[in-house]
């Protein structure tokens, strides 16, 4: 499928963004950056993040007003199904306006207005189908998958990519669930068998020719695949989901089926991921694996805790600081293709947001200190696993 944007502008935009990073990393001069900009014309309206957010908020509110007015006018006309059909076509009309007018003529590229209109239209299409169809789980999951998948592929939208991925997962789960108790009991393995190859496929696709425009979406799907493969083997996830969704009841002194397989997977998957990431120099896998290691520690702590979280915190903190400092020392000079030097500045890592995060996670709420020093501890920021966006 083709995306909706002017392809050569999009390619130029990627070049300019990369050049901007080189400029702030002092790899090229400002003059060179400007020159590259002159040579790579981009005609998009693509405002900076804050203006985007502003436009997104404003257009969502405006569209809410519009749909509210329309609802007042046609609310009493026709039965539920008729209204459903109208809502669906309202959504389609919004999508056509987005595609033909905003993107094709006014050259919007992820401007905030585009996202606002896209989600608004998608929502109405989905709600419309829910009203005029049987609204069964399969229908709705499929509708989500199709609408979100289309938005992701045609408008390169990251949130749609995530929604499409999740509906895909849910579809697989639902099919297995309906296939009877035997299949139900091997759902984790079905997921691993499906998403491990999917991960490899996405990695390949990312490096293939002509997929550069979808780069960010593919990285996101890649991350989701790793997480799903891990989660399907994680003891905590399997146990809690089995209890919640399959009605499994674990008695005192007993354990879930295949418990030891899941204990093993909880340890093996992140460690393997980490080792593979270090070996292949795969930054995405590295970052996700680090998070997964942390979650594995949490998993074991959750079921085999001796209490005393403060000791875990202290020891864990000391270990983290110690190992980070050791690696800094080791990688002061580049070794094995790794360096502790900052080669390029990441967008999200400016000093100002960092200061805000520190104040919110650490000093945060000193008033609470009056009722004791507890709390305020467990906010692990999660650290931007998809760094490129």
């Amino acid at each position: 499928m083709k995306h909706a944007y002017n392809n050569s502008w999009l390619e130029n935009l990627l070049v300019i963004k990369a050049a901007g990073a080189w400029k702030s990393g002092k790899l090229i001069s400002n003059d060179q950056f400007l020159h590259i900009g002159d040579e790579h014309k981009v005609g998009f309206y693509h405002p900076n993040l804050m203006i985007r957010l502003l436009l997104f908020l404003a257009s969502v509110i405006a569209l809410t007003g519009l749909s509210g007015l329309l609802a007042l006018v046609i609310g009493n006309m026709g039965d539920e199904e008729g209204i459903g059909v109208m809502m669906f076509f309202y959504g389609v009309a919004g999508l056509i306006f987005l595609d033909r007018q905003l993107i094709a003529r006014s050259h919007h590229y992820k401007s905030g207005v585009t996202e606002g209109l896209l989600y608004h239209s998608a929502l109405f299409m989905i709600l419309g189908v829910a009203l005029f169809s049987d609204a069964s789980t399969y229908t709705m999951t499929l509708v989500f998958l199709i609408v979100a998948g289309f938005s992701a592929a045609r408008y390169l939208d990251l949130i749609s990519s995530t929604v499409a991925f999740c509906s895909g997962c849910y579809l697989v789960f639902q099919i297995c669930y309906d296939a009877g108790p035997l299949v139900q009991s091997i759902i984790p393995f079905v997921f691993i068998a499906l998403f491990a190859p999917a991960y490899l496929g996405v990695r390949k696709l990312k490096k293939a020719n002509g997929t550069e425009a979808w780069g960010d979406c593919l990285v996101l799907v890649e991350v989701c695949c790793i997480i799903v493969v891990y989660a399907a083997g994680n003891y905590l996830v399997v146990r809690e989901l089995s209890t919640a969704m399959l009605g499994l009841y674990v008695e005192e002194g007993q354990d879930i089926p295949f418990a030891y397989v899941f204990y093993a997977l909880t340890v093996v998957v992140p460690v393997l991921g980490l080792a593979a990431a270090v070996k292949m120099k795969d930054v995405v896998l590295l970052r996700v694996s680090l998070l997964l290691v942390a979650f594995s520690v949490f998993t074991f702590k959750y079921y085999f805790s001796l209490g005393h979280h403060e000791i875990t915190f202290t020891a864990g903190g000391a270990i983290l600081i110690g190992s980070a400092l050791l690696i800094y020392r080791y990688l002061k000079k580049a070794r094995h293709g790794y360096t502790a030097e900052r080669v390029l500045e990441e967008k999200w890592a400016e000093a100002n947001p960092e200061a805000f995060v520190i104040s919110q996670t650490m000093g945060g709420n000193k008033l609470a200190a009056k009722d004791g020093l507890g709390g305020g501890g467990g906010e692990f920021g999660g650290g931007g696993s998809t760094g490129s966006y």
Binding site: W22, P47, G65, L72, T312, G316, V343, E354
Partner: protein
């Protein structure tokens, strides 16, 4: 980025061969920087360690082991500050480059450990008679000192939050949506005064060229406190709504102005969000009682706003 594109840049003479040699390994992933990963790990480590130590000490007060633990804590604090002072660069009004890559985290760790010691002493010996109030003030003063001496934005933001909480203003998102925030009667006035004072102080220091890169953090916190305070005022009492609404508009005007001057569009976002929320609240209360006109208002106001921004798009561009 596609390596072929980089080759094209070289062929078209847009980058030199030297630069190509430097950039090519980065683009192809032959060299990978773990700078940010290490920083995040360090940050998590500092958070966990200081949280853990804080709870550990608080829970074990009065135990036999507490002398040992407090001694350990003091030793750790002293060691951290020894490191910090040893590598410290001389004070300057300008931005100072950290002497070592992880220096910032050592400063942060030392400051937080110091606060643990202080809290411990306070709880055990009631160092300051009137309880937490004076401790918060001392904490804030200490943070300000560290922030200026070692040029640390993170500690500066801690200092501002501590100072705000001395005046019982909480600037934590956790508090925004809890009802406590709106029920504290004097809060709006306090927040407004606090916000104005901090903003004026920040702008004066900016003019005197003292740590100009701190201005954003000051103005950011102060604007948020001011806007939240006046919005809370709008919500709170019907008699004074109009006064607070005017204050809110004043704050939004300042935010929009400052955002444009300093090219930080976050402030424009704040101006819109707070101004619109306040206005809509007041209008809903008085004029727009029916649902139809209300939808009409949403459509016209926000639609008009979107068109306005699109029409004057060059006005909102970041100069590059």
């Amino acid at each position: 980025m596609n390596p072929e594109k980089l080759k094209q840049l070289l062929d078209n003479g847009l980058i030199t061969a030297d630069q190509f040699a430097k950039i090519e390994p980065i683009v192809t992933g032959k060299i990978v920087s773990v700078y940010y990963e290490l920083r995040i790990v360090l940050y998590l480590g500092v958070t966990l360690l200081t949280t853990g130590l804080g709870i550990l000490i608080y829970e074990n007060i009065g135990d036999i082991g507490h002398i040992v633990s407090i001694a350990g804590l003091v030793v750790l604090t002293v060691a951290t500050f020894w490191y910090v002072f040893r590598y410290a660069v001389a004070y300057s009004d300008e931005r100072v480059k950290a002497p070592t890559p992880y220096y910032d985290y050592m400063v942060l760790l030392g400051s937080l450990l110091f606060i643990s010691v202080l809290t411990y002493l306070q709880v055990l010996y009631a160092l300051f008679d009137d309880g937490m109030g004076a401790t918060t003030l001392v904490t804030s003063a200490f943070f300000f000192y560290v922030a200026y001496r070692f040029d640390h934005l993170g500690v500066l933001s801690l200092a501002i939050t501590a100072l705000a909480s001395f005046f019982s203003i909480s600037i934590s998102p956790q508090k925004w949506y809890s009802s406590d925030f709106f029920e504290t009667a004097q809060l709006p006035i306090k927040s407004i005064v606090f916000g104005v004072v901090i903003i004026v102080a920040a702008l004066v220091m900016e003019r005197k060229k003292i740590k100009r890169h701190f201005t954003f953090t000051y103005v950011h916190f102060a604007t948020l406190i001011f806007l939240l305070g006046s919005l809370a005022g709008v919500f709170m009492d019907d008699d004074t709504t109009l006064i607070y609404l005017l204050a809110l508009y004043g704050g939004c005007g300042f935010a929009a102005y400052y955002g444009r001057e300093s090219r930080s569009f976050l402030f424009l976002l704040y101006a819109f969000a707070f101004g619109y929320t306040g206005t809509t609240y007041c209008l809903t209360d008085t004029v727009l009682v029916d649902i139809g006109p209300w939808f009409f208002y949403l459509l016209l106001s926000c639609g008009g706003f979107v068109l306005f921004i699109l029409r004057y798009r060059t006005f909102f561009k970041r100069s590059s």
